[in-house]
Assembly symmetry: C2
Homo-oligomer: 141 residues x 2
């Protein structure tokens, strides 16, 4: 088996627990864009035991809250596709009115070629903010 | 306030509870494509109380399971954007290798212009399958 998310973190590692990790995606138009990756190779959300997927979604929503706090986006986009890498992972993406693809998903057409890159937050600050909320979540038994 | 998902179901209504509904999206390339819509106007997942978002995700995953059973897709795609309609709703989309946009999200580029529409399942059958799993889920207090 040759799975990219089994072999590599999939971005700059910001936080991890025994069962999942949060990585930052390098995307100058979408600073704060994170991926939440389940550590084990599981294909679909419905393949995870209920307690595991509840925990995973609590992590996803906690990451969403941290991104809202640090980056003040106009909207959050959440997505789990896995068409290319069928290993459960969630995209948590801050969006701004007038950003490069707004109002489409970032996989859609570019609507604003002139959109400038947005101010990033350094990884240490982002990691510390994530730790504050994620270290409190009880892991599934 | 002029919200499309407050004013209309957003697709053919297949199931609903006091707090959320499941509608079928008319998309011949992606039969089984459903939306799970929160009934109240809430902007982000992190704006929902924890019990409410847990219930909503259990509904989303249950819909995923029904779609896997009835349509045997190669992959499931889940997404919550709300850039155009900032009212919490989830897209649950069956995907097949070689379908119109595979391996991209359906909001991306068309990769297979020749892809044929796929066999649908009638709404009554789909609604009955959804009822069997969704009627069992305890609603949030």
């Amino acid at each position: 088996m040759d799975c990219e998310l089994c072999a590599q973190p999939g971005g700059a590692l910001l936080w991890q627990s025994a069962v999942c990790r949060v990585v930052r995606v390098a995307e100058p138009h979408y600073p704060g864009f994170c991926r939440v990756v389940w550590q084990a190779h599981v294909r679909e959300m419905s393949d995870l035991p209920p307690a595991a997927r509840r925990y995973l979604m609590e992590v996803v929503v906690a990451v969403e809250s941290v991104i809202r706090e640090l980056f003040a986006p106009d909207k959050i986009n959440l997505a789990s596709f896995g068409n290319m890498v069928p290993h459960v992972h969630w995209h948590v993406i801050p969006r701004w009115i007038g950003d490069r693809h707004f109002p489409e998903p970032i996989w859609g057409q570019v609507h604003n070629e002139q959109a400038a890159a947005r101010p990033p937050v350094d990884d240490a600050t982002l990691a510390a903010a994530l730790r504050r909320v994620l270290d409190k979540l009880p892991e599934p038994a």
